[in-house]
Assembly symmetry: C2
Homo-oligomer: 397 residues x 2
Amino acid sequence: MLKLYEEIKAKSLKLDISRGKPSPEQLDLSMDMLNIKDFQSESGDCRNYGMLDGIPEAKKLFADMLGVGLENTVVCGNSSLNIMYYLVSLAFSHGVLEEKPWGTQKIKFLCPSPGYDRHFSICEFFGIEMICIPMTENGPDMNIVENAIKDSSVKGIWCVPQYSNPTGAVYSDETVKRFANLKPAAKDFRIFWDNAYCLHHLVDKPKTLLNILTECEKAGNLDLVYIFCSTSKISFSGAGVAAMAASKNNIENIKKALSICTIGYDKMNQLRHVAFFKDLNGLKAQMIKHRAIIQPKFDIVLEVLESELKGIGNWNKPEGGYFISYNAPKGTAKRTVQLAKEAGVVMTPAGATFPYGKDPDDSNIRISPTYPPVDELKQAMELLALCVKIAVNGVSQ
Amino acid sequence: MLKLYEEIKAKSLKLDISRGKPSPEQLDLSMDMLNIKDFQSESGDCRNYGMLDGIPEAKKLFADMLGVGLENTVVCGNSSLNIMYYLVSLAFSHGVLEEKPWGTQKIKFLCPSPGYDRHFSICEFFGIEMICIPMTENGPDMNIVENAIKDSSVKGIWCVPQYSNPTGAVYSDETVKRFANLKPAAKDFRIFWDNAYCLHHLVDKPKTLLNILTECEKAGNLDLVYIFCSTSKISFSGAGVAAMAASKNNIENIKKALSICTIGYDKMNQLRHVAFFKDLNGLKAQMIKHRAIIQPKFDIVLEVLESELKGIGNWNKPEGGYFISYNAPKGTAKRTVQLAKEAGVVMTPAGATFPYGKDPDDSNIRISPTYPPVDELKQAMELLALCVKIAVNGVSQ
């Protein structure tokens, strides 16, 4: 094994399966969007100032995508992460609705783990204590969540409810209902519902996710959730359109605050997206094209895991989203990622999928198959498998 | 007069000279930018993630526009106001460099007035006490500024150094040098240098503005200033590109923070701008085209002021920028704006150019000539002049 590893190392590979980036072929799918030349929205000239909360046509598109009303929707710029940061920052300086600013208290967030490192970074940046919540195949362990929110210093939870980053879990109906029925001690507790992969299916009959806002309404808990989505992995990852949704009450408050923080978002790009995708069906049709490009990549990763690592750790077979989550035998993830790096394959740092970058089991490795070509991906995966075996055997040091 | 006023009122006019908005003709000047189809930057694919601080080509363009180095420049999204808000918010939550967060203290900002209402709104939103600084034709009254910064709770000042909003003042060399040589009691005092109109000349031989970063360097005061600019009034006001500049020290700190708050800015739009304008000369050539469109509008405003209001209040003849600042006789601005509104002409609310929306003299009225066609503008100005006279005479109530 070591000989093979050294041989591969000598090849000076430069492979990267670290981030969930679309491939150039995927980005090419949306290039016709750029032919659009008419920037008159039904509410005015998209090239000029105004329409702070988004053009009406884009509101309709995103409201349909999220299954919410126009009055629940704000269409923003190119980064949903930026909206999430903004809402945490706003709560930090001004509080949520009538409650005290988070910045004046010691507060905590619940972090289903493994999860999305950039969610956790926002917490770390604001000095928010993070509490790990174990993930199950149905979503976060709700018994633990329901218990944790009895603490009034717990102000939020990060959720990627469909095709969770990185485990691929789709929250079950029961999970969503239990979320909607939470009775947190803190009135300003918010679920940060990052529905980044709501249309990103890899199977013909995807599991359906219950509509959290509808469930919250049924539960008399309308203000409980902030919902996010974007076209970052539908159109252009650097130049898509992001949106948020929430109760009218939350949205009205956020819009007032938004009027201070920006002159408005890029409405030309909003109109470009609407003109190109037209409606929810247009978005869905685009996702079928994406699937055709990325499915073989997920397949090759799963094939190599199956053929090389059967019985050594475990992994999920995602039905959508952007990641495969591989759990190496305890205590070997860091060493594995290090070995891969030395041989020219960049992985997400081991531990990154946990709060503070610390995986208590040193086990989880996030694999992002979408960016590299299939042959490079195969090479990278074979090397990864080899590195796992070396790390497990403790042969090299 | 009243009869004439009632006659005009009966026409149900709908005119708007309230905001500094480019006209459709001005926006048309940049439409060819949208023909660009190649989105490969010298540093990679602009359609994908990455290049948090801007693509290198755009950094070069904006560094040249601001007369600073590449290492001093970050290229952002479509709103320079959003960067200003972000930096205040960041200082509020995390402090500036090693200093204590602003949110933990009672702090103050200096507000040269009349000034830009959206600057003042940011202060008001964060509960920052605003101190009015009188404007002269050479910039803020520097004696008062130099005295005010002896107070360590004074953390910042808003400046529009070239074609000040709304007075049109260009800061003199002496003013800029005195700014660069400020020795504030607060180490985390920052000059917010909003150079929004740096290329927006209305004369053949514009006054030159000293480079504040260079002057700060000479004064051994490198970290003192944050500089902002955008193409909002060069390309598209809703979909331009904004940038900031500061010392390397400041920029390194801000970049670390930025990596938490966004996945990156829209680099496709950055490349579009670079491909279209090419370089600083391209920007300047575009501004000559803008001038040809807007100069007649400034002229008509000045003509009506001259013919109708000579001896009644005073006004500036701007050499650039977006506004004409009319000082009505004391105590008549609110009434004038109200009369105009009732007759169908929307003006910037009287007082808006002062902190807390309160003009101590109830005198300043900001006129924005760029958006309406010349004939509508003439109509609006004639009505405004009539309203001033009515308000001054106190005939109507």
